[in-house]
Amino acid sequence: MEHSILELFYLAGSLTFIIGLKMLSHPETARRGNLLAAAGMGLAIMGTLIFYKSGVPMLIYALIFGAMIIGTISGWIAAKKVQMTAMPQMVSIFNGMGGACAMLIGLIEFHHFLESDDNLGLLTVLASMVIGSVSFAGSVIAWAKLNGNMKREIRLPKYNILNTAIMIIIVLLTAVIIGGWVPETPAIYVLFVLSLIYGILLVIPIGGADMPVVISLLNSFTGMAAAFAGFLYNNHVMLTGGILVGSAGTILTVVMCKGMNRSLTNVIFGAFGGGGATASGISGSGDKSVRDINISDTAVLLNYSKKVIIVPGYGLAVAQAQHVIHELETILEERGVEVKYAIHPVAGRMPGHMNVLLAESNVDYEKLIEMDLINPEFPTTDVVLVVGANDVVNPAAKNDPGSPIYGMPILDVESAKNIIVNKRSMSAGYAGIDNELFYNPKTSMLFGSAKQVLTELVTELKNMN
């Protein structure tokens, strides 16, 4: 009886996950979808606590509730306090927590399967442990890299071969353990350590614009780890939840790769910003010069335009200039200038990250136009204002087969009548490569920190009345 009630809770939980995810795919219903999934999760957790097993000592319940209270409070505070610009790190570290949870479950549970000689059960538990450990270690590295704790490029020699070798060893070791050809318990601990090392080595060489892809990939890893654990406990809600995230995460990863016109293997095995960067670095240095523009000239140019497209990049968010840019947009609109934002699929540090950052400063999301829709509009645009973006407007992606970003679809800003690029200095973008756009005769460089420059622009425009 109690077990059937629990199954009912789990059924409801699974249903809310599916409907919640579905609702998350529309801007109008997304928020309710998220809350629905959260409610379903609460139901499934409560159901487990109440109906899973009777006669459990009070001490154990006290421990579980204690742990849940600690987790809830710290999770809540972290999630409420995090800056919107730091969102990718936050998602990454929460993902790592889930991975670590799967890892610990695996470490506890494998003993039972050794005793009962259930080989396929053991395989399931090891799969959950290995994937969870990889996801945990990888997420921590991804967090450190995005957070700027690991600025130096660490590149082990032949890391591709090394990584592949470790992966093969993990698979072989698992097979040997299942076969019972080695002392199981120590071998499983070796497997655990190897998984952690693999997770670290998987993420360390990845950098630049590829980071979101890795987070998404690790996200689906944790989903798979949860699904394996669900198989282990014959638990339907864990299985559906895990697999949904696993497959959704994989699709999302593929979509992101497509946005950059790269294959997943290329992201994982191709060294980004390696050899190619030096090649295009040579073409960038030397005889070319850039044209400067000052604040008042920019203000005049913007004021007498019919149509302005703003290309925001991560630099805008770092400078905390989202609110000022919205102010600029409002003033220009009052003067009868048509203003739109061009959003590259990987603008910011995650797909859609830029949308979140601009939405935070009250920019209407109908003004945020996706790349495929905005590209045909550039030829009829008077001024393109590039703020803190670099790689997503780099023509090398189209013209220079030697460039590491070659093949990535870019915003076609070159076809606009005037291009104004705001940058702090002439340093290269996140991908570490030079940008031909800056030397285009139509381009003027507006140097300075985004926030200061935009604030001065707004003041200048206000004075022009």
């Binding site: 939980g13 919640g20 995810l21 998350l24 795919s25 801007p27 998220n34 999934a37 959260a38 999760m41 499934a44 957790i45 487990t48 899973y52 154990i60 742990a67 849940m68 600690i70 987790g71 999770g75 972290a78 999630a79 409420k80 995090v82 919107m84 969102m87 936050m90 998602v91 929460f94 993902n95 927590m97 889930g98 949870c101 610990l104 479950i105 470490l107 506890i108 080989n119 969870g132 996200n219 989903g223 198989f231 406990y233 864990m238 299985l239 895990g242 697999i243 949904l244 995230v245 497959s247 959704a248 995460g249 699709i251 995650m350 797909p351 859609g352 949308n355 979140v356 209407d364 999301y365």
Partner: protein
């Protein structure tokens, strides 16, 4: 082989759920506008926090005298809760900003 077949028949409904869930996941995500990719990733991230149920089960099954299991399980429940609560709250914060602006 026999072992595999008996494992499969013991878990056959799970196998069905597994396969169908893969397709549901692909189908549900397939049409998401890129605007929502970040909140979606974050929401999905919260959902795989369902692993916490495994951690709770570990704790419920562990005896009071099984100290290592209790310690690891305790940490696992904390981590799982962090994943669930943090994930849903962060997603909600992001989506709160997508409210349609009225002029």
């Amino acid at each position: 082989m026999t072992e595999f077949l008996s494992f499969l028949s013991a878990h056959i409904d799970m196998a069905y759920v597994l396969i169908l869930s893969i397709f549901v996941g692909v189908e549900v995500i397939g049409k998401v506008p890129s605007v929502l990719h970040t909140p979606l990733m974050s929401g999905a991230n919260a959902i795989h926090g369902v692993i916490i149920i495994g951690a709770i089960i570990v704790m419920l099954n562990a005896g009071v005298d099984n100290i290592p299991a209790l310690i690891l399980g305790f940490i696992a429940v904390i981590l799982g809760t962090l994943n669930v609560v943090g994930g849903f709250v962060v997603t909600d914060r992001m989506l709160e900003m997508f409210k349609k602006k009225k002029n």
